[in-house]
């Protein structure tokens, strides 16, 4: 019955993925075609009609082979991950599946944990990142982690400290880095306060409280800006100062993309819906 809920477009694009699915529609990591189908059908509606996302520079994602998609993180409930995944799936030719790295605490949540796994969103462990890149897949990483989504609205679009682990893995696997700016996430769920007790109950790092109280993203227009791929050379065993310098370059690229993206989004808001 659930299969019928899947849109024809999603079916066709799933068939065009280079992921090898078994007779049960599963790959070796447990990613499920059926779950992806339902997820992307829902995500497609959110992408096109709720957040009305415009993607810029999608051609910067390689058609084949591994790549690390590095983006800014925003919004108390990170809609950015889903929208970037949707962009890569719906707007890129051929469609590709971006695998995300999720917080480890979610692995103990019933229903959520298996859904994350079936959608190819694995706990943020270096072993998972290496395995995905070595299997020629796309890896979506938010180096700000929960610090990024947890920031308050007054600090919007100011990136917090970047982790450096992603750069060592990219060097180890010889994967290019595609910098990405997601614009609109901060306005979709502007966090004005953190409810610590609720966070403790949910075993989550924070619980965002927006002005509309319910932590559900608002239907604001969003944009995803993909930068040109960045190539770094090394083994991943370089001293911290070299890695830090590489990370700063990636961060700098994202900052520039954010600037361009905010300007572009502001213009489109003035211009009204397209």
């Amino acid at each position: 019955m659930l299969d019928r809920a899947m849109s024809q477009e999603v079916r066709e694009r799933l068939d065009a993925l280079d992921t090898p699915f078994s007779r049960w529609g599963m790959d070796e990591l447990g990613v499920s075609k059926k779950h992806l189908g339902l997820f992307f059908t829902f995500l497609g509606a959110m992408y096109r009609h709720y957040f009305r996302v415009r993607s810029v520079g999608i051609q910067n994602i390689p058609n084949t082979g591994p790549a690390m998609l590095i983006a800014n993180h925003s919004g108390g409930i990170p809609a950015d991950a889903g929208m970037i995944m949707a962009s890569v799936f719906f707007d890129h030719e051929p469609p590709r599946l971006a695998h995300g790295m999720v917080e480890k605490f979610a692995q103990n949540w019933p229903f959520v944990s298996p859904w994350f796994s079936r959608l190819g969103q694995f706990p943020g462990l270096p072993e998972h990142a290496v395995r995905l890149l070595e299997s020629d897949r796309l890896l979506l990483v938010f180096p700000e982690g929960a610090r990024g989504t947890g920031k308050l609205f007054k600090d919007r679009y100011q990136m917090v400290r970047f982790g450096t682990g992603f750069m060592r893995i990219a060097l180890q696997c010889g994967a290019p880095i595609v910098p990405i700016a997601f614009i609109g996430g901060e306005e979709a769920l502007p966090t004005i306060y953190h409810a610590k007790t609720l966070a403790k109950i949910a075993n989550a790092p924070y619980w965002p409280v927006p002005p509309h109280l319910v932590p559900v993203p608002l239907p604001v227009r969003c944009e995803v800006h993909f930068g040109e791929p960045m190539y770094f050379h090394g083994s991943g065993d370089e001293p911290d100062e070299i890695i830090d310098a590489h990370v700063a370059k990636v961060r700098g690229s994202i900052e520039k993309l954010i600037e361009v993206g905010r300007e572009s989004r502001a213009k489109s808001m003035i211009g009204g819906p397209k």
């Binding site: 049960w24 019933p110 944990s113 706990p123």
Partner: protein, 332 residues
């Protein structure tokens, strides 16, 4: 499917005298038949008898920890020892499991060292890696054995595995091969997963559906043959086809699944026809334990013959046949 391992002609130069401990077990019998096909000479030790053992196989009914076992080593001077005299089920007490798994393994390795055995193969389990929410999906041989904390009842199995592995530096003249096999399914209906699935109702934790990694028991035995014939020295994961979710495993083997919230499941195990598993096994119903077998495949060229569907079908067919036989006997 790849070529059947049986079709690989054994090299007569490498015909070896192989001692199998725990030879009367279902899997060890299967291994014996495979090794005989490959032209090797087989001797066995087991506390249990093997009444219809092939005539060419000499079975000594004794305990590996007892003095007569040492005499078997002294008398036959085996080239290779395959240690399968371990217990995985939890019907035995913890003390007995410790005695058999840990002290038995110690005795076997000491005999191997003392009587000039060339290679010792320890047949271990992949479950030692343990199921945990923050563990990688695919475990390499370098991963820590988390089961020692996540599944305390498996502590003896973990200890035996690590003890066997320590022979790599304690006895450098002895080639030590520690094999960490994924769950075995197939016609023998033996092993941890087979027993779990054979219950009238299979419990699942509501809201979880972990990947299960298993292989056909014949493939598993072929892998042990490959480890012997390639003189492996080191620790190796052994797996066949890719893992499948527990829900698919239950569906394809015709099992009745009962999903229960975790709290209720803990109280219901062993009742209402649900499989009886220790409490430490519950994380295995929530999180996967899947292994990376590339190192073993690279060093031996071994490939599994049975894919996941034929493995599950084989198990299901045998289970249904035995159920029919049971009903027929009851009717008589």
């Amino acid at each position: 499917m790849s070529r059947p391992f049986d079709s690989i002609a054994p090299d007569p130069i490498h015909k070896r005298r192989i001692l199998i401990t725990g030879i009367s077990g279902a899997h060890a019998r299967l291994l014996t038949m495979q090794l005989l096909k490959h032209g090797h000479e087989i001797i066995g030790i087991d506390r249990r008898p093997w009444p219809k053992a092939p005539k060419t196989v000499t079975v000594y009914q004794t305990d590996v920890r007892k003095r007569p076992a040492a005499d078997v080593f002294r008398k036959h001077r085996p080239h290779v020892v395959v240690h399968m005299a371990t217990v995985t089920h939890f019907t035995r007490s913890r003390e007995e499991r410790y005695r058999i798994n840990l002290m038995g393994t110690r005795a076997v390795f000491e005999h191997c060292h003392h009587y000039g055995v060339e290679q010792a193969v320890f047949v271990g389990r992949h479950t030692i890696y343990g199921a945990a929410p923050d563990a990688p999906i695919y475990r390499s041989e370098e991963e820590v054995p988390l089961a020692v904390s996540t599944f305390p009842e498996l502590a003896d199995t973990v200890a035996a595995d690590l003890y066997a592995g320590s022979a790599l530096w304690r006895y450098p003249e002895l080639k030590t091969c520690v094999l960490r096999l994924v769950y075995m399914l197939g016609s023998t209906l033996r092993g941890t997963l087979s027993s779990f699935l054979a219950a009238p109702r299979v419990p699942m934790v509501l809201g979880f559906d972990p990947l299960y990694h298993f292989m056909h028991d014949r493939d598993a035995m072929h892998a042990i043959v490959a480890a012997i014939e390639h003189d492996l020295n080191g620790v190796y994961n052994v797996a066949g086809p890719p893992p499948v979710p527990l829900s698919i495993l239950c569906k394809e083997t015709g099992r009745t699944v009962v999903p229960l919230p975790e709290g209720l499941l803990r109280r219901s195990l062993g009742h209402f026809g649900l499989s009886e598993i220790p409490e430490g096994a519950i994380p295995h119903l929530k999180h996967p334990v899947v292994v990376d077998c590339n190192k073993f495949k690279r060093d031996t060229g071994w490939e599994h013959v049975h894919d996941e569907l034929s493995t599950m079908s084989s198990f299901r067919g045998e289970l249904e046949m035995r159920a029919r036989e049971g009903r027929a006997r009851a009717a008589r």
